[in-house]
């Protein structure tokens, strides 16, 4: 890429990268806020685990372009493309976080939970002092997968006009300009790699030696 290209598009790439981060980050915040408590709840009511995780699984199988299309005609949501994008990305991010939160807590050595109960830890003490710390590495692994997926799918959000780096990719495809396609794809890939590395670090930091 020549200097003149960067001079021409540099600030736009920057703005779209921030927008992209905003879409993916917003969706991740919603997804974490929903999926972690839901995963905890499932460990308390395991009979709901199969249907709820199944539902999250089905959400994940909807092709992203179709998902954006479905949401477009909805009132309020349809008014702002960013709303649609964040909702759709949230839906995609749910499954890995939900599944890992549930599996992470269920996977804790039963004798540890048994003693926590027998020592008289309250429900919330058990959750915050024992279960969440022990499942944290798993939960971060789920968040890591979800974030990488989200950053990738967020490029498609440009199709409904939500902005983000997909904007450059779509424009590049339309005008057969590979430089534009790369100007969108490279930063998106870098964001995904950075998120992967960052959450990978957290995942290892919280891993508990057996």
């Amino acid at each position: 890429m020549s200097n003149s290209f960067l001079k021409q598009y540099g600030s736009e790439i920057f703005t779209l990268t921030v927008e992209h981060l905003w879409l993916a980050g917003g969706a991740m915040l919603f997804a974490i806020a929903i999926a972690v408590p839901a995963g905890i709840w499932l460990t308390r009511s395991p009979r709901w685990a199969t249907p709820v995780i199944g539902a999250a699984n089905i959400l994940q199988t909807i092709p992203s372009l179709a998902m954006f299309g479905f949401l477009l005609p909805l009132p309020w949501l349809g008014e702002r493309a960013a709303r649609i994008a964040i909702l759709a990305l949230t839906a995609y991010a749910l499954l890995p976080i939900l599944r890992n939160t549930y599996a992470g807590i269920r996977g804790i050595d039963p004798s540890v939970i048994e003693v926590a109960r027998a020592l008289g830890l309250t429900g919330s003490q058990r959750l915050f002092k024992v279960e969440l710390p022990l499942a944290a590495s798993f939960i971060f692994a789920g968040i890591r997968t979800a974030t990488v997926t989200c950053i990738g799918i967020a490029t498609i959000a440009a199709a409904v006009g939500a902005g983000g780096l997909g904007e450059l990719i779509f424009r590049g495809v339309a005008s057969v300009d590979n430089r534009l396609v790369l100007a969108g794809a490279i930063p998106a890939a870098l964001l995904a790699l950075a998120a992967d590395a960052g959450f990978g670090l957290l995942e290892r930091r919280f891993r508990v030696p057996a």
């Binding site: 050595d109 004798s111 540890v112 939970i113 048994e114 003693v115 926590a116 109960r117 027998a118 020592l119 008289g120 830890l121 309250t122 429900g123 003490q125 002092k129 024992v130 710390p133 022990l134 508990v208 030696p209 057996a210």
Partner: protein
Amino acid sequence: MSAAVEFRNVSVESPQGRLLLDDISLSLEEGTITVILGRSGSGKTTLLRTVNRMVEPTRGDVLVKGQAFAADKAKSIRTFDLISLRRSMGYVIQETGLFPHLNVERNVGMVLEAEGRPREERIRRSHELLKAVELDPATFAERLPHQLSGGQRQRVGLARALAAEPRILLMDEPFGALDPLTRSEMQDMLRGLLNRLKMTVLLVTHDLDEALFLGERIVLLSEGKLVASLGPEEFMRSSQPEIAAYVCAYHRGERNAENREREGRG
């Protein structure tokens, strides 16, 4: 002497309707060590777990220091009572159940932490307890459970159970997973400790040797029924067939050991 724990016609059914405990009545005198002996599946662990309500009796009551938790009123027990009941008892199990993400010091101090006691007190108390179970705090306080041997883990589990100065200590096969040498060291340490602490102890084992060494009263369970509740000498002299079978197996073990020793010498 008064009863610290009293089982009144306690029966427990599994969710599938199998009778795990059948009309057990028994009282544990304050400050004594009672050992529950029996084969696997005889209901030993279930009986132990009714004391701290990890298992809810289907019929009958378990009274702790005169405090009744009637089974039919189980639903109305407030969580608060259950929590304070459990905090008033120590609990040690074979698998130790140490919190793998917390160091020894925090494992030991967990009940105090749950009660919101200040950090200095928790540290002071956990160091005291580590000394009581013969672990040097300077060496062990900062270690994580995976850095300990089986015997050391069990010592930490015991220290943790004693942290809140419980009057009742429940132990479920505490030394079952240890090698014979470590096991007998632990038994020595436990006996010394319990002599000093004068707690009411209920210990589950399938090992008659351990029962004789530690127990002031031996309770034999078979298929959920209470077969006998006797002092160690009476137990060894009893002619009751279930007891005799146990004692006979025990003597055979002793003879085998003697034979091995003799062969070794010869």
